[in-house]
């Protein structure tokens, strides 16, 4: 194996501190990933050597902060293979999707259609419901197959001429399924609709060629891709961003303000009202740059080997049902399952006593849970620093938990 997982673990202080007495098998990366020292160092360097506000100051701290912030945007753009001035820093995926729902939503009329899916995270459902209530758009929903993928068999029926946007997860935070973006883009193009991808779960698994995906918007969160909380990014096509009205009003997003009339700044500043999360964006840029330097084919092989080990272990249990694809094709290493007679929270609580950090519940995807008539699932979400011992601890702990709860 060309990928040295122990060396990677050593870069993450929280993982490095876990020891024999208090082992940690962190398998809740889908909720929040851990953060490497190099990202913390970048944030600390800002805080202790160039902390200042950006864009308007001429003193040396402000110049340094402004340059670092611009560099962070450039790095994020390289991570997504897009132009830097199409990258908007937000406070996270949720804020990014809401920005589109408000600002692109403002271009829609009653009767226009937005298509989401049944496997979306609430962050990609509720903003569209609010838009529906605000503007009378029609919200349509792609179904989900029995193995937890987008069901595209009726795509052509659901995506009509009235469709203005298809907004779906690039990868599901519950089933781990990666969406067939090409088919979705083709359907959208056929009717002149735009496509937004919620990339929150895809971003921790390596750089994304957004240009090749040929979508119109891409949203992600820093805290899931080894960067600080409180920052995320929205990429949008320049022409669309230019056309959209601003969303939040405030400093930094204006050209001139009089009480009567305000002229807005150019993209991306038009959508970055107020002091941005400077230190956090610098951290996100550093995380993006760090990720760009890694050997992703090797990491993917590693992640997929672990996912297979987990799927195999779960597959041997007759009381356990996997919610999602059973194989490794078009998936990220996120695995959800339900155990007969053992509630997800009880399973997670008992696993925690062995240092295995999982998530139990609806994973902010209640419509998907309803689709499968489940109150929730147990989810193991892997990152590059997980290893065999994490999977084995989960499987052993599960045996024990089921015995105790049974």
């Amino acid at each position: 194996m060309s990928f040295d997982v122990a060396a990677v673990r050593a870069l993450f202080p929280l993982l490095a501190q876990a020891n024999g007495d208090a082992p940690l098998h962190y398998l809740d990366n889908g909720a929040t990933s851990q953060i490497p020292q190099t990202v913390l160092d970048a944030v600390l360097s800002y805080e202790t050597t160039s902390r200042a506000n950006v864009l308007r100051g001429v003193h040396r701290l402000a110049e340094a902060a402004t340059a670092a912030y611009a560099e962070a945007r450039a790095r994020m753009a390289r991570f997504l293979n897009v132009d830097a001035d199409e990258v908007i820093f937000t406070s996270g995926t949720t804020a990014a999707i809401n920005l589109v729902a408000y600002a692109y939503g403002d271009l829609l009329k009653a009767g226009d259609e937005v298509v989401i899916s049944l496997l979306e995270h609430h962050s990609n459902i509720v903003p569209w419901q609010l838009l529906r209530d605000r503007r009378g758009i029609v919200l349509k929903v792609l179904p989900v197959t029995d193995d937890g993928r987008l069901d595209l068999s009726t795509l052509d029926k659901i995506v009509t001429k009235r469709c203005r946007l298809i907004a779906v997860a690039h990868a599901s935070n519950v089933t781990g399924a990666v969406s067939d973006v090409a088919a979705i883009v083709a359907a959208a193009r056929a009717v002149g609709a735009k496509v937004l991808l919620d990339g929150a779960q895809r971003a921790p698994h390596g750089p994304i060629d957004v240009r090749a995906l040929a979508v119109d918007f891409y949203a992600l969160s820093g805290h899931k891709m080894f960067a600080p909380n409180g920052v995320g990014a929205l990429w949008g096509r320049r022409a669309l961003l230019d056309e959209m009205p601003p969303f939040l009003g405030g400093g930094e997003m204006i050209r001139t303000v009089t009480i009567e009339r305000t002229i807005y700044a150019d993209v991306p500043h038009k959508f970055e009202a107020g002091t941005p999360p400077i230190g956090q964006a610098i951290g996100l840029g550093t995380a993006a740059e760090w990720a760009l330097g890694l050997d992703w084919p090797a990491i993917s092989a590693h992640e997929m080997r672990l996912a297979q080990r987990l799927l195999d272990g779960l597959g041997r249990r007759i009381d356990t049902r996997i919610l999602g694809p059973s194989g490794l094709q078009r998936r990220i290493p996120v695995v959800s399952f339900a155990v007969n007679g053992a509630h997800p929270h009880d399973v997670c609580q008992l696993l925690d006593t062995r240092g295995v950090a999982l998530r139990g519940g609806h994973h902010c995807a209640q419509p998907l849970m309803d689709r499968f008539d489940l109150p929730g699932t147990v989810r193991a979400s892997l990152a590059l620093y997980n290893d065999d011992s994490d999977i084995d601890a989960l499987l052993e702990g599960l045996d024990d938990a089921v015995r105790r709860l049974g």
Binding site: D346, T353, H362, M369, P375
Partner: protein
Amino acid sequence: MSDDIYQQAILDHAKAAEDGGSVETPDASVTLDNPLCGDRVRIDVKMSGARIAALAHRVRGCALCQAAADVIRVRAVGQTVDGIAATAAELRAMLKDERLPPAGAWSDLGIFLPVRRHRSRHDCVLLPFAALGSALQQARASRG
């Protein structure tokens, strides 16, 4: 260690909760969800004056939620609306403010003491009491 939550007493009550009983022509029936975990509890009550004459539950939830519902099934009949409210308050205080468990008939709520240290699970225990409280209010309201 957090598995001290899963003492035999709790597991026994949780198992017993599989049969939540039934109430014919209940005076009130309330279903409550826990938004964070998807747990769901339904409580049916029949009153006799100010007292609970019969009670049944359905739980789709974790062992803690099931166990709390089962303790209710065992202890609530014959209690008054005010008595239940007081007990629910005592249980909450036991979990959140380090108070002692209720004395008397409800002393078996002491089995939930280890849950104290697990804030995220407090609501699992409290949900059936919340549903019961709503059901009692509904019953009172429907009598006018």
